[in-house]
Symmetry: C2
Subunit: 139 residues, 2 copies
């Protein structure tokens, strides 16, 4: 756990730079998905463009996945080990967006149910986002 970030980067054959380590550490230390803007607010020392490019690189390498939300803000969260080792995404879990606190979380233990499409449609990827009240906003 000492240099987890650097290890992940090396494992994805990315050079280890301070911005990549910093951004990866932010994800490793967060329990919810983050928007570009969140990263910008936390890692203020890095240029906006660098953050865009880093998120793009992480997506391509399967280090993070993106979550399309109803409020038009893409959020990003760490992928499971399998995405990272194989280099492509195996994220089949449901995402939850809390209408109260605004946090988006990966429900890793809830897998997306199968669905039958009409004839002629070929499914490649499914996204399921549930809105509501999260467990920590429940009174």
């Amino acid at each position: 756990m000492k240099n987890q970030g650097a290890d992940i980067l090396k494992g994805s054959s990315l050079s280890v730079t301070s911005s990549r380590k910093a951004i990866l550490d932010i994800f490793l230390g967060s329990d919810n998905a983050l928007a570009h803007q969140d990263i910008e607010n936390i890692a203020k020392q890095y240029d906006r463009v660098t953050i865009y490019r880093t998120l793009q690189t992480f997506l391509e390498k399967g280090i993070i996945h993106s979550i399309p939300t109803t409020d038009n803000i893409i959020k990003y969260a760490l992928c499971s080990d399998m995405c990272i080792t194989t280099g492509h995404h195996h994220d089949n879990h449901v995402h939850f967006l809390c209408d109260d606190c605004g946090k988006t979380v990966c429900l890793d233990e809830v897998s997306i149910p199968n669905v039958n499409l009409p004839k002629g449609f070929v499914k490649k990827e499914i996204n399921m986002v549930v809105n509501g009240i999260c467990n920590s906003c429940q009174k």
Copy 2:
């Protein structure tokens, strides 16, 4: 079917203006969901701001619903009659985004399967978007 647009507007207690009629007609005549930009390209005579505000109004009145897509472009599609008459959304269908032609369609006949959330999470709304190849792009 003569003045369908105007009727929908009146039914939602909105004043009937030329921009609202025009934008509503675009939806009525389209078989796929449209992005803000699509509307702008078709209804060139209206101001960008008017289109933003009109889409917002239509959303609030339950005339259209929005579809969060993986490519960070919100698309809009007409709601079923029930949304319009009750004034809030009853859209429980799956959406399909074609990776080939880029079109987003409502699969009105495919309803979103139920999913069990962990203890403490309360579900209010579910979105399910499937990516892949649509029926008309199939060779």
